[in-house]
Every structure is written in structure tokens, then in C-alpha cells.
Chain length 481, copies 2
Amino acid sequence: MSYFDAASSLPLHPVAQQALLAALDEGWADPARPHREGRRARMLLDAARETAAEAVGCRPDELWFTSSGTRALHTGIAGALAGRRRVGRQLVLSAVEHSAVLHAAAAHERAGGSVCEVGVDRTGRVNAREYGEALDPGSALACLQSANHEVGTVQPVTETAAVCAEAGVPLLVDAAQSLPWEAPPEGWSLLTASAHKWGGPSGVGLLAVRKGVRFAAPEPADERESGRAPGFENVPAIVAAAASLRAVRAEAGAEAARLRALVDRIRERVPELVPDTEVVGDPVRRLPHLVTFSCLYVDGEAVLQALDAAGFSVSSGSSCTSSTLTPSHVLRAMGVLSEGNVRVSLPPGVDEAEVNRFLSALPGVVDGVRAHVGAASLGSSAPAAGASSAPAEPTGSPAAPEPAEPAASALTVDALGKKCPVPVIELAKVIERVPVGGVVTVLADDVAARLDIPAWCEMTGHAFVDASGDAFRVRRVAASG
Amino acid sequence: MSYFDAASSLPLHPVAQQALLAALDEGWADPARPHREGRRARMLLDAARETAAEAVGCRPDELWFTSSGTRALHTGIAGALAGRRRVGRQLVLSAVEHSAVLHAAAAHERAGGSVCEVGVDRTGRVNAREYGEALDPGSALACLQSANHEVGTVQPVTETAAVCAEAGVPLLVDAAQSLPWEAPPEGWSLLTASAHKWGGPSGVGLLAVRKGVRFAAPEPADERESGRAPGFENVPAIVAAAASLRAVRAEAGAEAARLRALVDRIRERVPELVPDTEVVGDPVRRLPHLVTFSCLYVDGEAVLQALDAAGFSVSSGSSCTSSTLTPSHVLRAMGVLSEGNVRVSLPPGVDEAEVNRFLSALPGVVDGVRAHVGAASLGSSAPAAGASSAPAEPTGSPAAPEPAEPAASALTVDALGKKCPVPVIELAKVIERVPVGGVVTVLADDVAARLDIPAWCEMTGHAFVDASGDAFRVRRVAASG
């Protein structure tokens, strides 16, 4: 098995395991107690705080341990908003933040606050100037991830911090994905992270709040972690988390360079090996270990299952793999294809041979899924198709709504009730029957279609005319190749 | 070292350690992911839920894992209050609940809700009928611990559940102290507990909510734990917690009987060995492993330190050992002495010889502290003094406010600004100079004095006349012995 879902969670780092076992022996008592066992736990907790603060680049008394990265975000956002309530109630965030940030924003909105979402470009990157324009005198807090968890794009934190500082708005940086790799850029007011992303145990998040930042911890609170994280401190896990962070950082430089080269290979080879595939995210300003691509005419769940059967564990932002049945909000914000989405995030120490094995297996896996949904021959139907060359015959399969040749201008594909990737497959099947310059209307009520039909046009070179309700109009463009 | 603070936290049970190590290998992935590692984590999580549900006595789909017992209480209380907001906003609880409940109640009050506290008797026990009288049509939730964490008194949960059911008010039972020993009594609507109290790892709480109980999880929420505990599930710790709960329950019957006998010995011997000591809490309806007593004329912190130096780790509810400088709210609600308070909670497997060693060491420890504060000879100044016999001479120390014999009716001890146990010591020193039937006024602004001066009167047989502001009046009673 090759586990390529490092951005989701990692097995315990050997250093973390050692530290955990030692701290389970020495640090199980209540660090608030004055007795010997309590004092020992307190010393371990203090030492872990020093270590973590050094990795974050803050003072130990600016850093608190929470029960998860999610909790750190929820507490950080609520605390900063409450601390600046007199200033205003606007929360500014990028459209591609982690769902924990979006949940906190939704809660803030339901409680009467306002939320301003800053869009991203097609690589998933915010523009610091645009971010600055979203700030206003009522902005209480700004949030920006250091790097995106789904597509790996690194955000312009330093530049955004500068515009926030100019506007006098504190910036919370969600450093969950980047903290294992490097110290966060300067300029943050609050910072969060999660230990199981760097080989620490789950159950440990970090919340750092710079001195001077107004903060009112959400209630109920207690005396633990200076009132910012109620409940018995999980000292053994905290000790393991801090030890692990120091260990992975010591290896981060060399390992980042190695994984960066492997990811470059994936970014380059996948579009060559698998036709009609789009690699998304910034190719350069990105996390070292993460790459995401989407494949036309397949559903993400089937690809995941087939990769799983072939021995590869990956993740997907396709709608069919989520409980909400909507595509990842990150892919939506980027305006890129969501169907057949695959995120590969390499764990530290991954073998180069594993990556090569993945590249060998992927084409067969995607072909197999495409064949299963009757889309095997669609790969070359595009006017500007890349690797494959022979124009496909119209399949005339029962999925095409009109077996007889219709009036070109009236051609309509009824994919209502059909889920991703069916609407796009049906569009691809019918496009050959549309005269060049003619328009086909696709009726589709699947949420993913709003993303995938324009993305299909972008990838195949046909022209997306417009969308109105559940009707999407596409004009056939002459083959350019 | 003898660790006698089991009610605070326990080292990891060997079964928990084994389960944790196995689950760190097998259950580190995200249980929400469909890949192999994710499915394995999900299976472990499901199995742990089955195990925990069996120990709690509920269905697996009625039980969620939180990041701590405190978090389970905060979420349970907020969720139940929100779920029944249309009914009303009153929260009913006993005066001796865990501080996490009191913090949740305070937050509820600050948010505009109302809180009704039900008092307890001198053993710390609520009366179910009185509890029922506190319920009204606007009661949204009632809270009652299964047993008290400071004095061990078991609460009448079944009877209270019956009055709550009659009033149609859901009852949340905080089972943190009793769950390791036995399945909770029937009748609860919500139930909470904490794994590190039974030798599981810290970082795991339980929240059970019966089907049909209205519950609206506090925001922000996510899809984890059915929306009731946001953030990445801590699967390895949850697995260890469940395994440990099953293991301690298998041993609980025999171990409870053994510890009960050891605690009985402490309850019996301490007042014999240490004069002017009161054992508090219900002597029969109590946790098997826990006993609390208070010693006149000493401060709890000094006793804790001296016991720590002698190799015993215990806890205290005295004001001088808490960050708030007020005595434990439990002792206050019971109206018992708070000075020199010592809680002994025996860990499973404790050696009988350790308990005997403690009983041998305790008198010397308390004597040493009393001598240090100049209270060594006060033990027999009481009219109804027990073990010690010779009447003490007035010490005439500088602490006594009036070296010359004052007019009896005007005798005043000025202990303003003095902290526990000084006001009581000064009272004990001066009482010999008060004629029988005469009154002494103690001026004391330490919060503990409100509790300890009446308790001193109760213990020594003198009459507490009244308190007015910082002035406490005490009438000397003739020696009865």
C-alpha cells in the first residue's frame, strides 16, 4: 500500500511515539496540581510549549494547546471577533479556507455578524491587494491560510499581513499545512495548526495569539491554558506533538526538496499519461508534497476506489466523494474542473519507486473507470485534444437523448437528475453531432455541472455560452489541432 | 511515593497502553476517508463506540466522543439548553457540581438564561424532593453528578431522574467519578464522563444523549461525531479509552470492596489520630475510593506540601490551594470546615501498606504544620475536645490582639487581612480568655472565615452567634467533657 493522503493525516512520527510513551509515564497527572506528579506534568507541558513556540516563532506565553486544529480555529476566530466586537463585526476570509474556518464564519453570520469572502484566481491564490480592498473600518478579523490543503497553493501571507496591518485588522493565519515545512511568514496576529498533520498525535492543536491582540476567549472557559482551552490538558499528546514538530522541521529542508521533485514529476507526467486531465493549483508557489488533478469523464469516488484497489490511498474534492454532494468549495472558488478529482499528498520518507508505481498504474485506473461509464472513447472528442489523436465517432449510446439527427440549433441534452460526471459525459458524446458553430443545451441540476461544464469547455476548447437556471449552452468550436 | 489523587487523574491502565499502541499503528488515519487506512480507523472507532456504549448502558448511536469530560459537559449542557430553548431558559443544578458545569451555567446566565442551584445537606447530598421543587415549567435542563468529586458522596440520581421525568425536564448526569465503578443508574437523558478518570488517556470525553432528547449542538459544528464534536476524531485515544473502561469495569466489583474497606479505615482512624479533624461526606453512600477530611488550625497548602515531602500526593479544597483564593464551592455548599482540607482518592491496586503508612505519617505532618503556625497547643482548647485532654494555656503570642485582659463583653480579635487559617487560630487562642457565656468578635475578611468560624464552633462546641459584614460573634460555652 502507498499512502498518499499525508495532507489529511499522518502516522505517528517515531520521535512522537517515543515522546508519547515517555510522557504517558511521566505526564499523566493534572499539571494544575501542586504534588510531585502534577509538577512533573507541568514541567513537561512548559517544555513542550517552549518547543512549539520556537517552531511557530512566538513567545511561549503567546501559545496555547487546544484539542484539535479545528478547535484552535474555532476558538481563535471566535476569540478575536469577540475581542474586537466594538470595532465591528465583519469577518474577512479567502474563499478557499479550511472548512473549519467556513463553519466558524457561518456561525458568526447566524449570530448576526457579517462575512466577506475574497475570491482566488484559477490557481487558488488570493491577491493581497484585492484582500486589502475587502477590509473596511468594521473589519474585526481577517483569515488566510498559509497554503491550501486541497491544491497546495501557497498564499501571499506576508503581503496580506501588510495590508491588514495597514488597515489595523488582525490577521489569523491557518498554518495547518505549512507549519511542518517551515516557520510561518511574519505578520500574523493569530496562528493555528494541528499536530496530526506533522506526525504528532491527533488531539492536539496550536493557537498562538500575539501579545497585544484583543482576544476574549469563548465561553464557557476555565483556568486551563490561560482560559483559552478548557478541559484537562492532554500533556502526553502535547509533549509528543512538540517533539514531533521539532523532528520534522529538522528534516524539512531536505525532504521538501526531494518531495518537490517527485511532485514536479507527477505534475508533468499525469497530463501526458492520462488524456483530458487538468493539474490544478500553483505549479511553483505550492506545498512541496501535494498535487491535485482532475480527470474528465470519471467520478472521483470510482477513481478513489480503483486506486485504493490498486494500492494507493488518495483524496478527492469531487462532489461524489463528499457527504454534501457538492464539489469542494476550493475547486469551486478556483473555477476548475471538479469531476474525477484526485489529491496526492506524499508523506515524508515516501519512496520514489512508489511514485513511479503510481504513475504507471494511474492511466489504467482512469481508463478502467472511463470504460465502465461508457466514456472510454471520449478522450479525443475535443477540438484541441492533446495526447490522443483520432477523432472519436459519436457513440450513439442510449445515453444520447436524440438517436435521430436533430436540428442543430435545437439540440438539447437532458441530464436532469444525473450526477457528476454524467452531464459532462453526455455533453462530450453529443458534441460531435453539433455542427461547428452550433449550440447544444445541457439540462443539468447537479451542482457539479456549474463547475464542470465550463471547465470542460475550457479544457476542450469549445465555447461556454451561458448558464440559465439548470440550462447550460455550449457552442462547438472547430478543431484547432 | 504514594499517589492518592486518583479522582484527579490516573496513569494509563496497562490495557489502555496496549490498545493505544495498537491503535496508533492502525487508527491514525481520518475515519471519514474512504481509503483503506480511513476504513480501518472507522472500524476501530465504531468498535470503541460499541464498547463504551455497553459500559454506559446506551445505544452506540446515542454516544459521542468529545475531546475531554469538560468539553462533554459544555457541549451537553449548551446543546440541551439550545434544544429546549422554546420551553424555557432555566438551568437547574446542584450546588456541588463540577466546576465545568458551573462554568457552563455562568455562561448561560451571562447569555440571558437563568440558573437555579439546589442546595445540599452537610454530607453534600441533594434531596430529590427539593430538587423537584426547583423545577418549573421554564426548566430546560437539570444537571446532577452521579457522585461528588471532592467528598465522594453519591447523589440520589434515580430519585432525581424520577422527579425530572415527572416534570418533563431532561436530566444530564455527570458520571465522571462513578462510571469507572459501575453503570450509571437509569433515568438520565444526557450523560457525560472523562477517560483519564478510569485510566484511559486524556483527551477523550463521552457525551451520551438519549434518542428523543432535543439537542442542538453548539456552533460551529462539522460532520464529525454526527455534528456533536467538531475536529478530527482522536481514534487511537478513543480506542484506548474504551478498552480501559471495559478492563476497569471487569475489576471494579472486587476492587471497590477492597478500597471501600481501606477508606473506612481512614475515615475511622484519622479523627482518632489527628485531633480537631472532621471527616466530611456521606460515610456510606459514597464512592469506594475517596475520603475527605479537614483539620483545624492548618492551611491546606502547607499540609499538602508536607504530605508531598513525606511521599503522599493528595488534593485539597482549601482556599489557599486554589487560584481563586476561595474555598471549594463543594465545602461551602456543605457548610463544613474548609481549612486544612485533604482529599484522599485511592488508585485501583493501591497497597494496603501504603494506606497504613499514610495513617502513620499524617499525625506528625499535621502537628508539624500546626507547630509552624503556632497552633500546636490549640487542639484541646475546645470545650468538647476529643482525643487530647490538657486545657491549653492562652499562648499570649503577638497574634493575640489584646495582651492585657480585656473587658469580656468587648473582646475583639482583629484578623482583617489575615488569610485562612489565621482567623480561626486567633479565635482559638483567645477563647480561653473569654468568660463562659461571654462573646468574642472576630474581624476577618478572608472568604474562608465565613465557612470556618461557624465550622470551628460546630466542632468545638462553642456557639456561633452571628455574622455581620466582616464581624463574626462567638459565645464561649462551658466545657462539657
